[in-house]
Subunit: 330 residues, 2 copies
């Protein structure tokens, strides 16, 4: 029996699925579902391709209360830049939650992942950052540095943003882009310790394999979101910071123990409390979030299939509302 | 940087990718690659969805010598027939082997899986059935019963086919279809023991959870391909048949131990030889196949991502050659 599939390109998705409160609300709903239980989210399927310097990840999750579930395929081929091609690509497929029929193909080349990743940062900031954030800081100068600050600004409208990266020129460019996008004072800094000292909210967005944020830099009234580590061996936050913080939460505790900041801390013997609370439990209220403005909080984001399902169902509604996409009978 | 993606519907695929020697040759090449080594094929990602009586499997494999690799998503939602929808659906995505860029989306609703599954049966028959097969038998009366016999006939042009199923009416319909498709004598039979006794090649194509083919029925000069079991708990061949055969080969030994006939045999303590040889090793000659016409051989097919990659790369070439599909810039 033929049915209709909607095909949506990256250009259309950039138009109809901006990083806005609607995207953040959808991703918050995904965390609420994770916190409430009933989510089916198998471990990531990972295929390493050393022969072509590549890797492929497949994520999926089925969430109660969502009309569809996404399967996301994310290839990373790290010799592509030599050919003038981006390293990261991929697409999302949305299936009907009740029948498994293909509903939509999002040829997003990773755009929806960018949005849902930044949106998770906003959810973390909403529940864990101090009520008032006058200065935010970002470590790293890439796409997520920009998107994380734009997302954070929607939930904590800071007046100033500090940017640090290993490459001062890139930090300057990132600060300029943020000043233009947010209309805030945006300052490249040459010392990450100073960035942390002056900020109430810091997001780390690097592929670092050695910590870029030291435990000694933690100070009362600071929230840190670490979103760079998503693969075993990556590590942005000095291990003992996790135990020293008043609250350390994971997007997915088991996954953070494998791929996130928690891995290094457990291996160093500096985290001995077993699985930490999850962001979803903070969203539902099952676990307290920040309870006073002087606390130090850390959130570890490795990326979940639940976020993909959330952003893909949102993208379908947004595409249909805009009359966008190409309809194919199959 | 925009690139072109080819989108191909089930109707077009049925036209440009028939079950023919070209499909069988491609799948044979996949088994040769599995036998030669260098294939990267992670375990199947399986998501069980009891709440909606569904399951979703994701398979992939990267094969040296193939231009692309496929990711296949196969949802099975078993309440769909109540809604007038098929239980099985899904699609394949083909990525460039060297860059990970999306090349094609095959909205096949499982059609390419049907073809590559039947093609694997033909590869098994080519390497394991006696040189001369005058009578073939099929147990089961569904889509694969028909396709397996059509595929087998391409490599062993038998004159007569016997069909047995629990439902005599369906067995009659299947025999009529096979007579029309192959121009052979096709006979529904009421006793599977008689079917096996009279056949040199038997394919079992059922979702049985209790054996439908008894060890006592094995006879000199018989080859059996069991393709029904693809999930833990399914079982078509009586356990001791595996050990009693002169040769028992698996499409993927580790997977057959989890999902195929091997599982029941090992659990019953009736297979104690560890991992069996694989069909790919027989194709490359690394392991002997049938060495005389009187031997009894059994091949256990559970389905591999390597076959999906093979049929998807073949489907891309066939679609391009036919000028079919819809091109989208993304």
């Amino acid at each position: 029996m033929p049915h209709e599939v909607l095909i949506v390109t990256e250009a259309e998705l950039r138009r109809v699925v901006p990083l806005d409160m609607a995207s953040i609300d959808t991703v918050e709903r995904a965390f609420a579902a994770l916190g409430a239980g009933g989510v089916v989210m198998p471990p990531v399927l990972s295929m390493e391709l050393p022969e072509v310097h590549g890797e492929v990840d497949v994520k999926t999750a089925w969430l109660p209360g969502f009309d569809g579930f996404a399967v996301k395929v994310s290839p990373g081929f790290f010799d592509n830049p030599k050919l003038g091609l981006p390293s990261l690509n991929g697409l999302m497929i949305l299936f009907a939650a009740g029948t498994g029929l293909v509903q939509a193909l999002f040829l997003d080349n990773g755009y929806l992942t960018d949005v849902r990743t930044a949106a998770a940062g906003a959810v973390a900031a909403k529940y864990l950052a101090p009520e008032t954030v006058s200065t935010a800081g970002v470590i790293g100068t890439g796409v997520q540095a920009r998107l994380q600050m734009r997302a954070a600004h929607l939930v904590r409208p800071f007046e100033r943003v500090l940017v640090w990266g290993r490459d001062a020129k890139k930090a300057r460019a990132c600060a300029e882009d943020l000043a233009a996008a947010l209309g805030v004072d945006a300052v490249p800094v040459d010392d990450p310790a100073r960035l942390v000292a002056q900020s109430q909210l810091v997001v780390t967005t690097t592929p670092a394999r050695e910590p870029v944020l030291r435990a000694a830099w933690l100070h009362p009234g600071l929230h840190v979101t670490a979103m760079g580590a998503d693969r075993s061996g990556k590590n942005e936050i000095e291990a003992r910071a996790l135990a020293e913080a008043d609250l350390y939460v994971a997007d997915n505790a088991a996954q953070c123990a494998r791929l996130g900041e928690l891995r290094a801390a457990e291996r160093a013997g500096l985290w001995t409390r077993g699985l930490p609370p999850e962001l979803g439990q903070v969203v539902t209220g099952a676990h307290p979030g920040r309870t006073d403005d002087a606390q130090v909080t850390i959130c570890d984001l490795t990326g979940t299939g639940a976020q993909d399902t959330a952003i893909a169902t949102h993208a379908l509604r947004a595409t249909q509302a805009a009359g966008a996409g190409i309809r194919i009978e199959t």
